[in-house]
Symmetry: C2
Subunit: 462 residues, 2 copies
Amino acid sequence: MTTQGVIGELKKIVGADNVLTQKEDMVTYSYDAAVLDPVVPSAAVMPENSEQLGQIVKLCSDNKLPITVRGAGTNLSGGTIPSSRASIVLLTGKLNKILEINEADMYAVVQPGVVTATLAAAVEKKGLFYPPDPGSQAVSTIGGNVAENAGGLRGLKYGVTKDYVMGVSFFDSMGEHVKSGSRTVKCATGYNLAGLMVGSEGTLGILDEITLKLIPLPKARKSMVAVYKTIDEASETVAAIISNRIVPATLELLDNFTIRAVEAYSKAGLPIDAGALLLIEVDGHPGQVAEDGLKVEELCKTLGAVDVKVAADDIERDKIWAARRSALSALAKLKPTLVLEDATVPRSKIPAMVKALQEIAIKYKIEIGTFGHAGDGNLHPTILTDKRNKEEWHRVESAIEEIFDRALALGGTLSGEHGTGLAKAPFLAKETGLSSIIFSRRLRKALDPNGILNPGKITGII
Amino acid sequence: MTTQGVIGELKKIVGADNVLTQKEDMVTYSYDAAVLDPVVPSAAVMPENSEQLGQIVKLCSDNKLPITVRGAGTNLSGGTIPSSRASIVLLTGKLNKILEINEADMYAVVQPGVVTATLAAAVEKKGLFYPPDPGSQAVSTIGGNVAENAGGLRGLKYGVTKDYVMGVSFFDSMGEHVKSGSRTVKCATGYNLAGLMVGSEGTLGILDEITLKLIPLPKARKSMVAVYKTIDEASETVAAIISNRIVPATLELLDNFTIRAVEAYSKAGLPIDAGALLLIEVDGHPGQVAEDGLKVEELCKTLGAVDVKVAADDIERDKIWAARRSALSALAKLKPTLVLEDATVPRSKIPAMVKALQEIAIKYKIEIGTFGHAGDGNLHPTILTDKRNKEEWHRVESAIEEIFDRALALGGTLSGEHGTGLAKAPFLAKETGLSSIIFSRRLRKALDPNGILNPGKITGII
């Protein structure tokens, strides 16, 4: 069948209103938050239930038409960029039901299009906690979080999306419905396909249900902002907190460049002359929060903080985190092009990585704003540039590659939380070696012999 | 090359002393802790380092000779039973080095043959904690734990082996060295092959290095024993503790049958007239431990406990857990054959599962001792029988299948922590459906085209 023929069939499955083909819509779905060339698809389709989803996959399978699944499109590695003009985008926006929140057994079952923050708020109302909180949580979807193994601010203490996926069901490349995992905390039945699906970026199957672990909501929390003259002192404090066996819920770093951008954008009252800020939250039992809070404050001051402000109440607390969450938007206003990297190092190597980033900025004569999840080694060096300036863009590309190399040399990884996608696929062998890529390609070829599931991502075209 | 020819080559790789072929040795490696027929292999080989391991896999790959990896052989699902006479057993006993314990970044890197308890003790000396504690931890190996996704007593609060594997390296079926994961808490680079390897029972690759997450050692803990007249009251207490949002580190149940067996075996001073015992430990910040301890004690009494004994010191505490850990050995002394199951249900379904087990015991006129990790829904119904009694064994087999069916009907899983192996492979479709098995077989066939990696386990022969 021609692509147009398939589009006609898609309309029969989901109704004409749920199939978009207008040029303006196609442009909307041609790019994501990664700095990569857009690719315009043929259509975007919005299934309203699992049955329709399965029929769509089967139809595309039979006609070898590639599918790229898209949640909110906040992807930073190009995972949601369509593979070619002759492909469709599958939108999960109408698969947005929270199917169950089980309080007694502390799990939730959701469709992939549920917005992360919506789920977090729904479980919080019941005294439960879904910790993964990617920066984009206000719009990002659980399906996207699972497909990318999204991280967030709380990775240090609470782990990432992977650590909360108990089970999944999905349609494989032939449109067959596959289940893995359980609603029990322990499950050793069959292969850990749920684990394999996490971070597979829509290349092994298309999720229709996800079972997530929930935990009791911490009883207390305390947030604070520590102000430093230099970023070196701030990064040394990060290493000291961890080596003192304190595990804050969040431990975020903002350099001067980011502080000024955030303050200009959010007017949160940040000290624009500070060399760096640490934003820290400890949570748990009230006794532990009190002790950890005091000890963290003491460590900050010992290691050079000129001021440590403790949030007096939830309003002050929320203001701190709103400022932090605005960092990306604030930086994005400064220049036409923003490249947000997430190379990650073992936590104790944060001071070394901060130094490496300073050296790279000087070497390639570029602006790098550094902020991010210092507590789990996952900094976000953010390069501000203008892609149209070819000479500068070339320097930016060289700087990015050096960021990867320096992170790997420090025992780190190319991507802490943004995924491989298209952006990091060319560099994958640097980290995993060629054998891992060949192994991955064999696995993928067997599970998607016609190459219809988000081709080109992670392992390149196979 | 003939099998004898390969054995000659194996001797060249590891030295003649590290290749066992004597009949007595072969019998030793023909069975594990599952009640299944033994299969005698041709040889057992003990590599001393990764290089030798890789050479062995390559040699077997070239000669299509199947390999079954064996740690301590404590497997309860037949995962370590050789596939055929024409196969070798690969022993990990000499790959037993703890390669690194990184205190600053809280991870450990180990070879697969490291004994679980040895690692736990080594990290505890540094104030760190490796929580997974399968019942067999005194002899079981980390490699075996990863291959089976082993659970343990602390699953409720701390999760299972899967939750601690940050990265692995392994030799694939062609002898190529594959790496996945990182020494960082966050890693979204490439497929989550480390997650796939967990629970893959030696069928996708042979591990040579494992990187494990460590956490700070809890500052305080409190253990107690609650004595009940009836198992129903004890199981209702389990559900009540969880629904009160208390997450004990361990929450174990012993029925009267198990209590009497353990007391006869260990003389620990257990009340042999009790209908059931709950053994409970809470840990964490001292304030939390004090609060949770009191609340648990109160809940136990409210729900019918006739006595709650709190361990006064570490000696009393250790005595409680030693008694619990002796349950399997104690029960094993009573009859020639012991079948230890691990069908698992959502935690709130423990009372229903306990009732189901009582009904099954009556229906099939068999003895079922029930103990295990009630807090995470993972009970161990233990059937005592004599396999030589064919009529009784037939009833036992029917009872086992009904245990599976009842667990699944309650939203549970066939195996919480023992793996699929040979024992549960015939029942896998009941839980996952056929599509998941076909998907798994395609995956496996692509990664092990000649079927040399522990054939027959999990998905059956493909």
